[in-house]
């Protein structure tokens, strides 16, 4: 039994029922001996102030979907859960902005906004589990990033609780703002290593009047053909919100067709969507097969799509001693084709199951792996080698704790690492928050 006498300190500023001793370690790590459930910003502040002045390490969790993303600590002193810190603070519907508490489940926020025919223009994984705070802190983005951008393009203001308990506002509630440094950017994707996001203000987009998803499969397996179609299409004036290549394995799972498949989504007024579908029809090579999912069918496809990767909040127990992993790769746009190809080759030589997709319009790929521990580690190394040989990077977005100590989750430190370290040192000198969760052990 751990000596947790200090647990009682917590109940001097938190109600008893918001403090729980957690006996078990989690296979994904990033836990805490004590879990606290603040319900207000003041309580978040109080927890951090306490931890920071008593040398306690704090790990932050929202919905837990990204629990396997980074982190060298199996168990911090305190796990700060934002599960009970949720709700909409302000929705300026006519101004198309919303301010929301960070523990709000992303899908619930979207459902609420849908009643106003509005949305947050992000489409992260596991929307029914992930919290908006976690999505922003981990900078998660989905296939529609091509059309709508990522967290850095949607977030216009933050309230962040610093490790010493101070609340720092950045940005504001207006859609355009250059007053002072753009501090929002520091916290987006910082994996909670600089502060606890408390409230998030986002600009909204109207829900599209009409949408469809075109699935274009290339049974020939000829990637040159995929490339030449993509280059021609992207050089046209069409405006897809998503233009992603699926590996044959992923295509098989999603649409039952083992072939390279392009996912091309359109969202606009109905006439404009049909016009673009027709354009694809005219441009596509004759032996490709095409499926067009209109409206509800597209929506339901996306709901499935958002759950294809591992979910740290509900790890399905893979058979035997198999483990799951997810890798995000960034390369120059069209090099995505090489990465998808590489993932297919590695599947055979590393004896892992791999599914991959990547955006030809911006260069980000996601690769999901299943296999034995050793083969997963080899495969990750090979994927990283492929990415770096193309001038890109690979980061491991999901991996059990035990394996995270054996691979470098974030890859090589950037040459300007001293700046990242300097920022961390200024804001969190005692390394209270999410210690070792980020690049270079920050």
């Amino acid at each position: 039994m751990l000596p947790l006498a200090w647990k009682d300190d917590l109940t001097t500023f938190l109600p008893e029922e918001q403090v729980k001793i957690d006996g078990q370690t989690h296979p994904l790590g990033n836990g805490g001996h004590v879990t606290v459930y603040p319900q207000t910003e003041a309580e978040i502040s109080a927890v951090l102030r306490y931890a920071n002045s008593h040398g306690k390490k704090v790990c932050i969790v929202g919905g837990g979907t990204k629990r396997g993303f980074g982190g060298q600590m199996e168990c911090a002193d305190i796990l700060l859960s934002l599960a009970n810190y949720s709700g909409i603070v302000e929705h300026a519907a006519a101004d198309m902005t919303v301010t929301v508490k960070s523990g709000t489940v992303f899908g619930q926020l979207q459902d609420y906004l849908a009643e106003y025919r509005q949305k947050v223009a992000l489409d992260p994984a596991w929307p029914q589990y992930a919290t908006i705070g976690g999505v922003i802190a981990a900078n998660d983005s989905g296939p529609k990033r091509l059309g709508y951008g990522s967290a850095r393009d949607s977030v216009i203001g933050l309230r962040t609780v610093y490790p010493d308990g101070t609340v720092i506002r950045s940005g504001g509630k207006v859609v355009k703002n250059v007053a002072g440094y753009d501090m929002n950017k520091l916290f987006i994707g910082a994996m909670g290593t600089l502060g606890v996001l408390s409230e998030i203000t986002l600009k909204l987009r109207p829900l599209p009047k009409y949408e469809s998803l075109v699935l274009l499969s290339f049974p020939s397996g000829n990637l040159e053909e995929v490339r030449s179609f993509a280059v021609q299409f992207l050089d046209s004036m069409m405006e897809p919100v998503c233009f992603e290549l699926l590996s044959p394995s992923l295509s098989e799972r999603l649409i039952g067709k083992r072939a390279y498949t392009l996912m091309i989504a359109f969202e606009d007024v109905e006439s404009a969507v049909h016009y673009q579908e027709d354009y694809v029809q005219r441009l596509r090579p004759s032996h490709t097969t095409i499926r067009i999912l209109p409206q509800e069918e597209a929506k339901s496809f996306w709901q499935t799509f958002y759950t294809i990767g591992p979910n740290g909040a509900a790890p399905h127990e893979p058979a035997g001693n198999e483990v799951e992993a997810a890798v995000k790769i960034g390369v120059v746009n069209l090099n995505v084709i090489s990465i998808i190809r590489e993932s297919e080759l590695l599947e055979d030589c590393c004896h892992v199951h791999m599914e991959a997709h990547g955006a030809l319009g911006h260069g980000l790929c996601q690769v999901y792996l299943k296999g034995s521990e050793e083969s997963i580690i080899t495969a990750i190394e090979q994927l990283r080698a492929a990415a770096t040989s193309l001038g890109g990077y690979a980061i491991v977005k999901h991996l059990p704790f035990a394996l995270r100590t054996r691979v470098n989750v974030w890859g090589e430190k950037p040459s300007y690492f001293f700046l990242l370290e300097g920022i961390k040192r200024k804001i969190d000198p005692k390394q209270t928050l999410n210690h070792q969760r980020f690049v270079g052990g920050i």
Binding site: R169, G172, K173, V178, G180, L186, D235, W410, S415, G422
Partner: protein, 483 residues
């Protein structure tokens, strides 16, 4: 060719001259320096120590290292069109002019990116790729002369940023000379989400206080298939503001949604690009919709419908590219057009929630009355970014001060409705005290802490962006009266 010798004994100037390769790349005589004593914000002036014109990153790094090692203040300068005083050498800086680093280094249409040197002029990028149907989206009205380096520093916006975003949404990579002379590259190969804190996002809009940008990778876009532009004249400014709110809340995302009030119209009609706007209307809207041609007419019809519902006097759709271009030239030269009706003018740059437009415009009219100065409004209504132009005559004693006070009060009004003091022109010298309208002391320290990481000696562009500690009692009072 005979090299002219440097005619000064100042060892720093001699050393800097050696770095940039001689007399042709440095100015140090008073008469040459006067042109660099201010930027587009002309209320403050100060002479630099010298102006150097490096040709490449290595020269920039060597200059910076020299200044760093010898404790000489320094700053970067692009075209000098900044409107908040960011390039003014307040401390007698060595001005590093990037105007000779103006090459387009690389265009990769397939991967939608271009690499430019910082002195490359914004509009030249679009002009260089237009024949292939591509363009660079951020379009500040000064785009015919401002530099992309300056745009990065100010996170410049423009009329079409409503739909396409401001500079920060289009930057994929930067090469930066840090204040100690070290060269770093962020976002190598322009690949998004490089692991680590988002330094691209932090540097963009840092007003040249964190480093000097020497190379920029930008995203380029394909031209929209179709565009249509609407001009709507309103008898009442309230109706025009309501139409703006209606368009936004109807869920439309026009490419641009611009507004001018009566005083502004008087100015643009008296200047170089008149369109024939009626002088007796209170406001006009210039609205552009772009995208897939099949979808445009539906959106235009909805806009026309909204304008009619809001009692528009006359509304028309541009019938030709020539007509559209004339409307835009009239709008984009709007600031300088004020020169036609006033000896001097001061541009403000507040931002407000879009549904607060009627209320705020009313308050600005009251400020105009209070100070006895005309205020023209010409602005990006779609994203709530106001540009009140305070018209004044600097020759009249006290009028400059009154204009500054009126401008500051406009920002107070914006802050009071939950807005910001600047949407695209930056804080610079001009608005540094007004930072207190929206940020607490702790929040300002949080920002200067970040500056200290990059610029610990604070030799690079010091005295900008942040309020002077201890000299801001009145500002604090104003700020607390807002809260």
């Amino acid at each position: 060719m005979r090299k002219t010798a440097i005619q000064t004994k100042d060892p720093h100037i001699q050393a800097l001259a050696r770095i940039v390769g001689g007399e042709k790349s440095i100015l140090y005589k008073k008469e040459d320096l006067i042109a660099y004593d201010c930027d587009g914000f002309t209320v403050h002036r100060h002479l630099p120590k010298a102006v150097v014109f490096p040709k490449n990153t290595e020269e920039v790094a060597a200059i910076v290292k020299y200044c760093h090692d010898h404790d000489l203040p320094f700053l970067a300068r692009g075209a000098g069109t900044g409107l908040s005083g960011g390039a003014i050498p307040l401390n007698g800086e060595v001005v590093i002019s990037l105007t000779r680093m103006k090459r387009l280094l690389h265009v990769d249409l397939e991967n939608r990116r271009a690499v430019v040197e910082p002195g490359f002029v914004n509009l030249k990028l679009t002009n260089s790729i237009a024949d292939r149907g591509y363009y660079y989206a951020p379009d500040p009205s000064s785009q015919y002369c401002c530099t992309i380096g300056g745009n990065v520093a100010e996170n410049a916006g423009g009329a079409h940023c409503l739909k396409y975003g401001v500079t920060t949404n289009h930057i994929l990579g930067l090469e930066v000379v840090l204040p100690n002379g070290e060269i770093i590259e962020i976002g190598e190969n322009g690949i998004p989400d490089p692991p680590g804190y988002d330094l691209l996002g932090l540097l963009t809009g840092s007003e040249g206080t964190l480093g000097i940008v020497t190379k920029i990778t930008v995203r380029i876009l394909k031209n929209p298939e179709a565009k249509q532009t609407v001009l709507a004249y309103f008898d009442r400014v309230e109706d025009a503001s309501q139409a703006v709110s209606d368009i936004i809340s109807a869920g439309m995302v026009p490419a641009a949604l611009e507004m001018m009030d009566q005083t502004a119209i008087e100015g643009v009609e008296a200047a170089a690009f008149p369109v024939g706007h009626p002088k007796d209307i209170e406001a006009l809207l210039l609205i552009e919709v772009d995208g897939i041609s099949a979808g445009i007419s539906e959106q235009i019809n909805e806009i026309l419908h909204i304008c009619k519902k809001r009692n528009v006097r006359e509304v028309k759709v541009a019938q030709s590219e020539e007509e559209r271009a004339r409307w835009w030239a009239n709008r984009k030269t709007g600031f300088s057009a004020m020169g036609a009706i006033s000896p001097d003018y001061l541009v403000q740059d507040g931002v407000i929630p879009r549904n607060k437009l009627p209320e705020v415009l009313k308050n600005i009219r009251a400020i105009s009355k209070k100070y006895g100065l005309r205020i023209a409004n010409i602005f990006h209504a779609g994203d709530g970014n106001l540009h009140p132009l305070v018209l004044f005559d600097a020759r009249k004693p006290g009028e400059t001060e009154r204009a500054l006070a009126a401008g500051s009060e406009c920002l107070q009004v914006c802050a009071a409705v939950g807005g910001s003091i600047t949407g695209e022109h930056g804080v610079g010298i001009e608005k540094k005290e007004e930072m207190r309208f929206i940020f607490s002391d702790e929040e300002i320290v949080a920002q200067t802490d970040i500056r200290d990481v990059f610029n610990p000696k604070n030799l690079l562009n010091a005295g900008k962006l942040f309020p002077t500690p201890g000299r801001c009692v009145e500002m604090k009072q104003v700020a607390s009266s807002i809260k």
